[in-house]
Symmetry: C2
């Protein structure tokens, strides 16, 4: 059991079947990993919790249909807003939520504020690389539909620190997502970002090495550790992979069921394939998406995150808080 | 055997091991499908061909390393340039090539010219939808790194005609690739394109119905028939899917080999899974990417296209030529 530090603040009320799965995940993180949790929401709905979990009452809930920015301003007593305030006020080390993604980001941004010098925070997501132990960190996965080249440079700095702290990569290799390896390939944004990153001074404090453009096919292969892109492209890529993997699973399972014609064979094969699909389909089993660039840690889980995914997200948030990731990121940006 | 019409012009010299696989594919199209082919390249390298294949000499070859635009202008006797000229001159019904993609497109564009009113041609690619018989047509898959909203509207018109002619979809459903279903979600390009497409008048001649924004996860699922996007996003998506499927295949095969521990089971399972992977990994088994918007048919195959893929590309080009697809597209654009 780790030495107890500040608790991780968790939004109890966000997620497809909140608070049920959230509470299970919180209890698991507390019991299995010894992490104290500040669980924010409606006490009567939360029910029983582990000894290491403190419940903080928040009367309001931001739903999936709420407009992110205005709901955070309007629902001042919403669970995710109060959880973000706990981080701001030094009562918690990190915010973990599985509710409305935009509103969770807005809560973090509006309550914690940005790291000095950061233009816009970005969402970092680990993309599994089956032939390598560590995933590729891609950002921005959807916080900013439109980006400037300078934002992509900051994403590189923050992505490098994240890759170091979270996955132990000492000197992460960085690529810009484009449509050809040559620096002349791509749209204006990518070409300008490539030029800025090629100068190298961005990595003086963060470390990391710029490899140039990478392509979509490199994301799940052992090519680079950090891929920077605008939030439109990143979000399309992320959802394309999710949908593609689900379609592949469907096609393969249907073929096996239709053409193998032997229940004994399926009984052997399915238990082997299932964990692989879970690993590939659910990159968040590794700990969720993270909003980088705010003054505090903010982990955003899928609405459908499992108890295990919630527990893992809390654990990785706790580890990154102990490692002082936000301070390291601030130093990298200040450069 | 189909009634013989104009031959399909094929670039013999483009492709990873050209002309070997190209010639095999051409002979297969001629022998199995009865399609006459005009095979353009170096006769001494081409070797023996079927009776229905005519060889036309072209002394030069544009390689994968050649810069597309300038090489087409410089190498006037290149095989792909001569093949495009055969279409322009009414000697062939279509151009099929597996060489340098940019140069094949440039040959088609510079020699055949654009359909009247078309701003920029786009590459259409069929993306497999395992739970539906027909693929999703996505365009632009890489011809234009930067697009205007008006270009996306023309892609919708051309994609609809292609979906009708190639896959028999009477009234194709069209979506704009974005990062949320609401028309307010996405970047400026997508929001403006959504506005233009929602007006509906674009489909007066082509047919087709605009459904609104779709997301990356919808591409391989039975949601829409045609997805329009800029060539940067489309190319990233296409390569992300290619790389993702390869990574999934690697992970699943490794798990099967390591954990099933029974050669008998693998002997049953692998032959079932292999064709599924081929179908998913290689959308071009269905006939290649197509450049839409030029005054003639232009099918672009992967450099690694198999004999079967080449033969299929020739067959689908022949079918679309007979169906008068270019004229229908011109009518849709003139609208």
């Amino acid at each position: 059991m780790a030495q107890a530090g500040l608790p991780v603040a968790v939004d109890a009320m966000g997620g497809d079947d909140a608070p049920t799965t959230i509470v299970s995940g919180v209890n698991r993180a507390a019991d299995d990993y010894g992490i104290p949790v500040l669980l924010v929401g409606r006490p009567d709905e939360i029910g029983a919790v582990s000894d290491m979990v403190t419940i903080r009452e928040a009367a309001e809930v931001i739903t999936m249909d709420d407009e992110p920015g205005s709901s955070v301003r309007r629902k001042k007593d919403a669970s995710m807003v109060r959880a973000a305030e706990a981080v701001r006020d030094g009562e918690a080390s990190a915010l973990v939520g599985a509710g409305n993604t935009g509103a969770t980001m807005a809560s973090a941004l509006l309550r914690m504020g940005r790291i000095k010098g950061v233009g816009r925070p970005g969402i970092a997501i680990p993309i599994p690389v089956p032939s390598r132990g560590t995933p590729t960190v891609m950002l921005d996965a959807g916080a900013n539909a439109e980006c400037t080249p300078e934002m992509l440079v900051q994403f590189a700095q923050m992505g490098v620190v994240y890759s170091q702290q979270r996955f132990g990569i000492e000197n992460p290799q960085v690529g810009v997502l484009s449509i050809g390896e040559e620096p002349t390939k791509g749209n204006t944004l990518v070409k300008e970002a490539n030029g800025l990153l090629a100068q190298g001074s961005w990595s003086n404090v963060s470390g990391g090495r710029f490899l140039g453009n990478v392509e979509g096919r490199d994301l799940m292969h052992p090519v680079v550790d950090v891929v920077v892109t605008d939030g439109f492209t990143g979000n399309v890529v992320l959802k394309t992979l999710e949908g593609g993997m689900q379609a592949a699973e469907y096609a393969l399972c249907r073929a096996l069921e239709a053409d193998v014609g032997s229940a004994e064979v399926l009984d052997v094969v399915n238990p082997v394939l299932e964990p692989v699909w879970n690993e590939i389909l659910d990159p968040e089993s590794r700990g969720g998406a993270m909003l980088l660039g705010v003054k505090g840690l903010c982990v955003i889980c899928h609405g459908s995150a499992s108890e295990r995914a919630i527990a893992n997200a809390i654990r990785s948030a706790d580890e990154l808080a102990r490692a002082g990731m936000v301070d390291r990121m601030a130093a990298a940006i200040a450069g």
